[in-house]
Symmetry: C2
Subunit: 799 residues, 2 copies
């Protein structure tokens, strides 16, 4: 072996030895005595197959970092390679700095080995516990989008991203290669993808390892890359080839960036270099065990042979395998890495395992925030006007953007303008580094609005951006945010796990604006109607999830300001983009959002000693409008009825305080919702969620919820509410049906009024919602929306 | 224009005219008078941009079908092109056959136009209502996987799949190109992808339209295709180019299939032809309106100019645009298509809009089913044994496969064997049409186990396969099925919609087996723990969703048999793959599964007039085991306590009968769960789901649920239950805390016993679950698991 690579090979062998040790051993970590059953873990768990490749790349990246003083982080898509990343960070010293009980000596080694995949220990993936990782490898598909998220706005950083050939088959990964069209070589760092073809998944070969090499190279060129293939299994040859290729790639990256940074517009567009590494699965493990191929086969995927504790033969195979790395030459007397190995890593924060980019909270700076109150909509009277709430927020986001031009990005799947956030284009463009035509609108390589028609890529970019210490905002059609349900799961679990890891610093919250919501899919219809992301989100730990349903523009501004300032949460904001009534002045909105929910006294008439006959609760913009319209009807026609209106912005306030930090105490809940009066609750989403949140409350059996129940079509907004019994007439009928004393006290007979409501609802459905009672309706408690107690069918000339 | 294409061009113009008419008009459908405001719809909704391209392709496919008598179906990824697909099926006559009120005359035309994107009318997508569609275009990304699903096992079929350049950016679409490695040219039909580059999404250009053509061609070659580019906007040239290219592609397909079908093994692997169609977005609409480019820009995406009713200028633009197609020459006096146009389509079922493949229920044959009882596991006594339930089901699936070799496939993201279904490989292989090595295991082009590491592709293939009238089964790790949450949504909505469409015949159910579940992620840990797919599923209409939690192998067999025979549902089965206790003989299993839930009398001791002191309910394999262990503890130590054990297999039985067709009546529910005794419910998933299902029940306030509450780690199975308070000791403590009379009647003092339970739980956590009380535990009500009432810490030598 070339002398240049001798120590590097020793480093690699040490990392491999430490990886195997983690998987198999709980004693005798330096093999200073023969391997006995009690040295082997009783349950062998872990994934070896990808690990030697990850260790190999790590060693070579370190060589390059040291030679170039090039800041890098390491994203390992084949996440099951946890033992490798742990081993490398241990050899770099970082692991012991963070976890002092895992010292650089024999007792430390024993603990290092034992903790792996062991109760109370560490997971088998590159997990939040792993220094240097921003990428949990549990679910596959996000290595490249995370890597690009990390590279954006970090011009000096190179993100080395290993893509496993299993992971490469996932949809999210397959499209994330196109991130090449969204990186600006002037202002962003670079991603160096390393496609690691070791040929096998759990039980099958991989697609990309089994197509002809010219097909593979064409594919990668098609993604915008210049691929270089390093293939083989002989360490000496592989060290030389990989080192040369890596140098070439880093030179090309520097050249692309240098050219772009010295040239003016347009930014030259060149293919980015990348590496294809073909090496055997389980590289350096036994060629054959029990007559079956191990190295280079799927049998190396997890623990190559599982009986090493009880089977003397298998145990001997493990011992021979581990001794093949020559541990006696790799570790000194105390058990610390030999001096040459211990010296073979960059110092301080240049160690990938100690990079502050991989513990983004260290780098997090609060956003400079404009005063959201300055964007307030004037509200002459509650329940008037016609304002697009998200458009108002777009103005606010524009100025957040303007004040945080290197620290904040917007993400949307081609929906930023559709979601009415287009005002941000006054200060920035949409990111685009492919062909630009004269007729194009606000496209530029250094744009900060990230739009690709892939919710997965948007989410992955944003996660990578947040985890490296920046801020962002994701707007999406409500129904299709389910595309990232599983990505949300993983991110929420990452946040939850890192809350318990002291050295991890909090990162900025992941903020979702869900709009184009279920109630306003006038032409998209049934397929675009699903408000269930909220249900999905609230299954995760209360520590890390928040859900807001601001009913109008000023409350949306207040909520958005709060979310952008928060840390380490997932905030879900649901708000409409269509012209809608406004309810609260900015002052009132701030008070209301601070409480999270409250009585709207201006809409209520329940003062007096007896309290309300009924509580009409609402959450969400359309339910709030329909509730107020129902209240208006009832107060006009049943003036004796005492109604309390409660609006809910912060959905988590409904939960018991024991379940969520925002939860109301039972006393406070009862004070708002009463202990014994009927509650008619109009809710934006699936109605049973309100029951799930309130089932422990005193008055739960009296809470009657209306919401979306999968009744939908291509139809008008009003008809959508009718189909789901959330319309003003149904809500009023719910009240009539549930307030016992109504028959006696009302001005018109109960049944007669109810029938009039039913007739009137039908009349509007038949004659279109251009009728003034829908189109021109505004909140006027003293003269509510018309209810024609005569048969409206007979009053219309067309009927 | 070449005479050959003259009529074809007329057909295209007619389809375009009908498409524009659907978007804009509600009167004057043939423009036989000047266009007036009242002829224009008050709300203009729809998507024009992609439509002329879809119409163009449809016309050309018809030409090829007629020339070759080649059966084809048409999958339109750019789903918003609904008006185009509707127009084509109208010109073919199919639309009027299915919807007689939309006749081939002027009144029919008026109705055709008016119903589009209109309340009570049809959606703007290629929806379930659209003849010839198996593909709702609401959510993007599944055109190719649906197309391949349709092509599998249909050797004579060609599926023309238009991929929009917006859709092409999605992850699921990006990876589905690799379906080329899973198609067998001998036994499967072919997919002809037509990548339609019209350049724009809602507001942005598309990535694939803005990379260099050599990059694009390389990408498509990398996917395994031989791409042919047809580009331009001049109709005459485009007709000639497209027709020639289409002929060439169909010839190549025939050649590939012919060669493969006459050759022996190995199947030659050749690139499949495909077409890249570059045409202007909004092709044939006005070049410019109000000084802004329309044709060829994103402004053509939806309704190109929206004021056509109120703005005279805009209305004139629409009128001129529509007249540019020369409607007077395209339709006859009555308003029917001119004779040459009306003749330009294939007859009968060769019409793509009338293909039985696109109404798969017409072709559906029931599976030939082996008798599932023959796979029964012997159960000597309830609560004994150690059986991998899914492995037992694998044997059953093997024989289902053997008897339905052209009609049934398995789908899994590289997890079929991990999920213990490997016995199916005794009768078939894994599908693989890329390089195969001698060392490979059960790979073959005609294998029927479809494995790619993409849940999206598996789901898309399966949907396409089911919607064209076949059967399938999808096994997946429980946590990662969330990857297809949104695809499930769309499929469930498709099923729900087609229930209401008379001419659509029911298709086979989509069956999920979720395994590797939350309680057994011993080495994968927190990231692999999420039982929330059930929560997601039950948000959809009760008509189409079913959820089963069989506790052991025999109940799993019974449930699987039922699901495979069912139609038009989504069935979710959750079952473990690890060795586990068995409870029911096959006879008992059938009775239990038929009821869906019931009292396990052999585990209960509540007979007698007073009924039970407590109901211990359970759903799921691990909860069932822990419940029985708790019952065993309680009956050993508190023999006076009257316990009823209720096991739930069919989760929907818990809902009220008014909410779900499987729901129990309140009387039956009360008979099982009592009206007033505490219920301790051990549930597989998130506990609040049980509350959401039961909140209307009499005894709901007494139901106390334990389940997964996002407490997890890399740890042992028993410790997982402890972390989530679902373990036997916690369940027993729950009983002690909730049965009022316990303190007085029990043999040992209540608090002393409870403390012993707590100490014993901690002892096991500390000393590992190799202890016999965990490892060797089996159900023995007369001598339950040990509880050391002395401090177990003091009894162990290691402590």
């Amino acid at each position: 072996m070339d002398a240049e690579y001798g120590t590097l090979d020793r480093w690699w062998r040490a990392a491999n030895y430490l990886s195997v040790g983690q998987i198999y051993l709980m004693g005798n970590p330096l093999l200073r005595e023969p391997l006995l059953p009690e040295h082997v873990k009783p349950r062998l768990l872990g994934h070896w197959g990808t690990t030697p490749g990850l260790n190999f790349v790590y060693a070579h990246l370190n060589r390059a970092i040291m030679a170039r003083r090039q800041p890098m982080i390491y994203v390992t898509g084949p996440g099951h390679g946890g033992p490798g990343v742990v081993a490398s960070s241990y050899l770099e010293g970082t692991y012991s700095e963070i976890y002092p009980e895992i010292g650089l000596d024999e007792p430390g080694l024993r603990r290092l080995f034992t903790q792996f995949s062991f109760p109370g220990g560490i997971p088998s993936h590159a997990a939040p516990e792993t220094p240097g990782s921003i990428h949990e490898g549990g679910e596959l598909g996000y290595a490249l989008s995370h890597a690009y998220g990390a590279a954006f706005d970090n011009p000096d950083l190179v993100v080395a991203a290993v893509v496993g050939d299993g992971e490469a088959e996932t949809g999210p990964l397959a499209t994330s290669w196109h991130s090449t069209k969204f990186v600006d070589p002037r202002r962003d760092g670079a991603v160096l993808p390393i496609l690691h073809l070791n040929g096998y998944k759990i039980a099958n070969p991989t697609v990309l390892a089994r197509i002809a090499e010219d097909e593979l190279v064409a594919l990668l060129r098609g993604y915008g890359h210049a691929p270089y293939v390093v293939a083989g299994s002989d360490p000496a040859q592989m060290h030389a080839d990989f080192a040369g290729t890596l140098d070439r790639c880093l030179d090309e990256i520097a050249d692309i960036q240098g050219e772009a940074r010295s040239a003016g517009d347009p930014v030259p567009r060149r293919p980015w270099p990348m590496i294809v590494l073909r090496s055997p699965k389980g590289w350096t493990d036994p060629k054959e065990v029990d007559g079956l191929q191990v190295e280079g086969s799927w049998r190396s995927h997890q623990v190559p042979f599982a009986n090493a504790r009880s089977d003397d033969g298998h145990r001997r195979v493990v011992e021979d395998w581990m001794r093949s790395y020559e541990p006696e030459s790799l570790f000194d007397e105390r058990g610390a890495p030999a001096a040459d190995i211990a010296a073979l890593h960059p110092e301080g924060e240049l160690r990938m395992s100690a990079s502050p980019h991989a513990n983004g909270g260290l780098l997090l700076k609060p956003l400079r925030m404009p005063d959201f109150r300055e964007y307030a909509v004037e509200v002459d009277a509650p329940g008037t006007g016609a304002v697009e709430a998200t458009r108002v927020m777009g103005g606010f986001l524009r100025d957040v953007m303007a004040q945080n031009m290197h620290n904040f990005r917007l993400f949307a799947p081609d929906e930023n303008s559709s979601n009415r956030l287009q005002d941000v284009m006054e200060v920035t463009d949409r990111t685009w580094n492919a062909e630009i035509l004269d007729s194009d609108d606000h496209l530029a390589p250094d744009g900060r609005i990230m739009e690709i028609l892939s919710e997965h890529t948007c989410q992955g970019w944003l996660e990578g951006y947040l985890l490296t210490g920046r801020h962002g905002f994701f707007s999406c059609y409500e129904a299709f945010i389910h595309l990232v349900d599983s990505m949300f799961n993983q991110h929420a679990k990452w946040l939850e796990s890192t809350r318990r890891i002291e050295w991890r610093r909090p990162v900025a919250s992941l903020n979702y604006l869900l709009t184009s919501h279920v109630w306003r899919q006038d032409h998209n219809g049934f397929s675009h109607q699903d408000p269930g992301f909220i249900d999905h989100v609230v299954n995760k730990k209360a520590d890390v999830v928040r859900v807001y349903l601001p009913p109008d523009a000023n409350t949306l501004l207040s909520v958005a300001d709060h979310c952008l300032r928060s840390k380490h949460y997932v905030n879900v904001i649901v708000a409409g983009k269509q012209p809608a009534l406004q309810y609260l002045s900015m002052g009132d909105a701030i008070v209301h959002c601070t409480k999270g929910l409250g009585i709207w006294e201006w809409a209520s008439n329940d003062d007096g000693p007896d309290g309300p006959d009924v509580v009409m609760a609402c959450a969400g913009d359309v339910p709030t409008m329909e509730t107020l319209a129902a209240v208006s009807l009832l107060r006009e026609h049943l003036p004796d009825l005492r109604i309390r209106v409660v609006n809910v912005v912060d959905l988590m306030r409904l939960q018991p305080a024991s379940e969520h930090p925002h939860g109301l105490s039972d006393a406070d809940f009862d004070a708002l919702f009463t202990a014994d009066r009927p509650v008619i609750f109009a809710y934006h989403g699936y109605p049973w969620l309100i029951h799930r949140l309130t089932y422990k409350r005193t008055n739960h059996h009296n809470i009657h919820v209306r919401g979306y129940k999968e009744e939908g079509a291509t139809t008008t907004p009003f008809d959508m509410t009718v189909l789901n019994n959330l319309d003003r007439f149904d809500l009023a009928i719910d009240v009539i049906d549930r307030v016992p004393r109504l028959g006696a006290t009302s001005g018109v007979a109960r049944e007669e009024f109810k029938n009039a409501l039913i007739r009137h609802r039908q009349y509007i459905r038949t004659h279109g919602e251009d009728l003034p009672e829908i189109q021109d309706w505004q909140w006027q408690p003293a003269s509510g929306p018309a209810v024609r107690t005569e048969d409206p069918e007979r009053t219309t000339p067309e009927a």
